[in-house]
């Protein structure tokens, strides 16, 4: 356990330069805006005095190095500045208020992906080369190639408009989560299905499986107790990487389903040129992603005793 802790600390340390770079990049974003970001946000009718006043309030009149230090100070204190559109709104408060909805959606999407991919992947892997394997492979490629902004509206059309089974949009109860979660999780389900399949194929050819077969274990016991257990280890690592894709994909899914999460907030902020809000959203998503990868790495070590020792 202590070596695990040591390893975690090492990974944490390795994440420091990455976090530094991410914060710096996000800080710099507002400075790549062509023209004057404050004037952009206030619109053409704002007077010069209003622009200068707001700039002073936001600290955008300071030299770049000071702004950078102030930004870091803010990040450390948990202060991501104020909204450019409604200066009374604190960015972090807004972001945190939307955070649970996005996390809920991303985790539900992950659940959908896992629940679909494991049975399909095992089935395809066990019947390698059969028509069922080929069908699953083609469906998986289809799933990878179907973007959320096509799948989502089509799902709304079928399940909400035609069949009247599920609500179109919003977040007012568990039934509202179904379509967004499936839309978000479908592509990941397809990717994981392919991974589980090749994992199962590889494990079923391993020596320990031959031993288990020789001992007379039943095929389902071999698959589920032995092959799958080892076969899922690489799948777990990919889940951490893919969690970031889910978080980013949530931006599109939330737009389609009017899901009141971070993605919706990001797009609204982009449209109203509320740059500090956009920075806050992007920073939060990126940091969540880094954290998810750290946790996955930890889970991976816990699962695989070969690496643990």
């Amino acid at each position: 356990m202590s070596s695990l802790l040591l390893h975690f600390c090492k990974r944490l340390l390795l994440a420091v330069p990455v976090v530094w770079a991410v914060v710096t990049l996000v800080f710099l974003l507002i400075h790549i805006v062509p023209g004057d970001p404050v004037r952009n946000a206030l619109g053409e009718n704002a007077t010069e005095a209003q622009v200068i006043e707001l700039k002073r309030k936001l600290g955008l009149d300071l030299p770049l190095s000071r702004q950078y230090l102030e930004y870091w100070g803010g990040v450390v204190r948990g202060d991501l500045g104020a909204s450019l559109v409604n200066p009374a709104d604190r960015v972090l408060e807004k972001v945190l208020a939307r955070y649970p909805a996005t996390l809920e959606l991303a985790l539900a999407g992950l659940m959908v992906a896992i629940l679909i991919s494991i049975p399909l992947g095992v089935l395809a892997g066990r019947r390698r080369g059969s028509w069922i394997d080929n069908t699953i492979s083609v469906v998986a490629l289809l799933g990878i190639s179907t973007p959320g902004f096509v799948l989502g509206p089509l799902a709304i059309y079928l399940f909400s408009i035609k069949l009247d089974l599920l609500p179109v949009s919003g977040r007012y109860g568990p039934e509202y989560l179904v379509l967004p979660a499936v839309t978000l999780g479908a592509a990941l389900a397809a990717i994981l299905t392919r991974m589980v399949r090749s994992s199962v194929i590889e494990e079923l050819g391993a020596d320990y499986v031959r031993t288990a077969r020789a001992k007379g274990l039943s095929e389902s016991r071999i698959v589920f107790r032995h092959a799958l257990r080892n076969g899922l280890i690489p799948v777990v690592t990919i889940i951490g990487l893919q969690f970031g894709v889910l978080l980013a994909g949530a931006i599109i899914t939330e737009t389609i389903f009017s899901w009141p999460g971070l993605g919706r907030l990001t797009i609204d902020a982009i449209n109203s040129r509320d740059y500090p809000m956009v920075q806050g959203c992007i920073l939060t998503i990126a940091l969540t992603y880094i954290l998810a990868n750290l946790l996955t790495d930890l889970a991976y070590r816990l699962l695989d005793p070969r690496i643990r020792s």
Binding site: A21, I144, F149, V150
Partner: protein
């Protein structure tokens, strides 16, 4: 893999190549093929309701959008945007990525530490589409910025691949022989190492086309990429959303175009990878 999957994989590859060839021809010949000008607004009879105006007719086989523009023509012109963005993004990111990957792998040492140990990780620590959204959000939406943003997220894949290939090939005897004959670094990289890396780079480029087409449509759908009235598939999909209830075909056809293109590029990539693996 190969074996029993070989035949199926060949079919998959042929399907992918066929679809992409068709889309390329359609994109190139858009002005000849498209039945109408994609921007022309065809007025419908005043007796028709808005819903009726959107429906397919003999003159407009896929129907018209809310402004009376022919959907089929817009999808055909949309192929141009998708292919144009895809090709440019793949070229730019492959060029930059290959160069950086080659430097990282060939020279090793602190250059490699800085590039692969740090820079790659920074870019990988953003979910890729998020970085593109961030860049376009701050630079402002336009095709140029879209290509820039997608290249900025695309190069890492090529760089990692190239680095791995260089590390593998660098130690081969023929490279040592070339060096002994007095070949310079750039000659060794270009003439001896690059040809060995070309197969996986082509696989990556094919998957990269799929990714670029998909990302272009995603960003345009969000209003962050190609701007209306330019008929990008993502724009068409976004335009169609308010009419989902009464005219789902407005969404279905551009959606199918995106899906087919992405699927075909993925098919080609998979097929090439399996062939290379054998």
């Amino acid at each position: 893999m190969g074996g029993s999957n070989g035949k199926a994989m060949n079919r998959v590859g042929i399907f992918g190549l066929t679809v992409i060839t068709i889309f390329f021809v359609v994109a190139l010949l858009a002005p000849v093929i498209a039945p109408w000008d994609p921007a022309e607004q065809h007025q419908a009879g005043p007796e028709l309701t808005i819903t009726e105006r959107l429906q397919p007719t003999s003159e407009h086989p896929l129907g018209r959008d809310d402004l009376g523009r022919d959907l089929l023509s817009r999808i055909i012109y949309g192929a141009r945007i998708s292919m144009e963005v895809g090709i440019l993004v793949v070229l730019i990111s492959a060029l930059i990525g290959t160069l950086i990957g080659a430097i990282s792998g060939y020279y090793g040492g602190w250059a490699d530490q800085l590039l692969s140990g740090f820079l790659f990780n920074v870019f990988l620590s953003f979910p890729s589409i998020l970085l593109a959204i961030a860049m376009v959000a701050f630079l402002g939406p336009s095709i140029r910025n879209l290509i820039l943003a997608l290249s900025a997220i695309g190069w890492v894949g090529y760089a990692r691949l190239m680095r791995a290939q260089v590390l593998k090939v660098r130690e081969y005897d023929f490279v040592t022989a070339a060096r002994a004959l007095g070949a310079g670094d750039s000659r060794i990289i270009l003439r001896h190492i690059l040809p060995n890396a070309i197969q996986p780079l082509i696989v990556q480029a094919s998957l990269g086309m799929a990714g670029a087409v998909l990302s272009e449509a995603s960003l345009s759908f969000l209003g962050l990429g190609v701007q209306p009235p330019t008929p990008s598939w993502g724009v068409l999909l976004n335009d169609a959303r308010p009419y989902l209830r009464t005219a789902p075909h407005l969404l279905l056809f551009p959606g199918l175009a995106v899906m087919l293109t992405v699927l075909a590029f993925n098919f080609i990539g998979d097929w090439l990878r399996e062939r290379g693996g054998d």
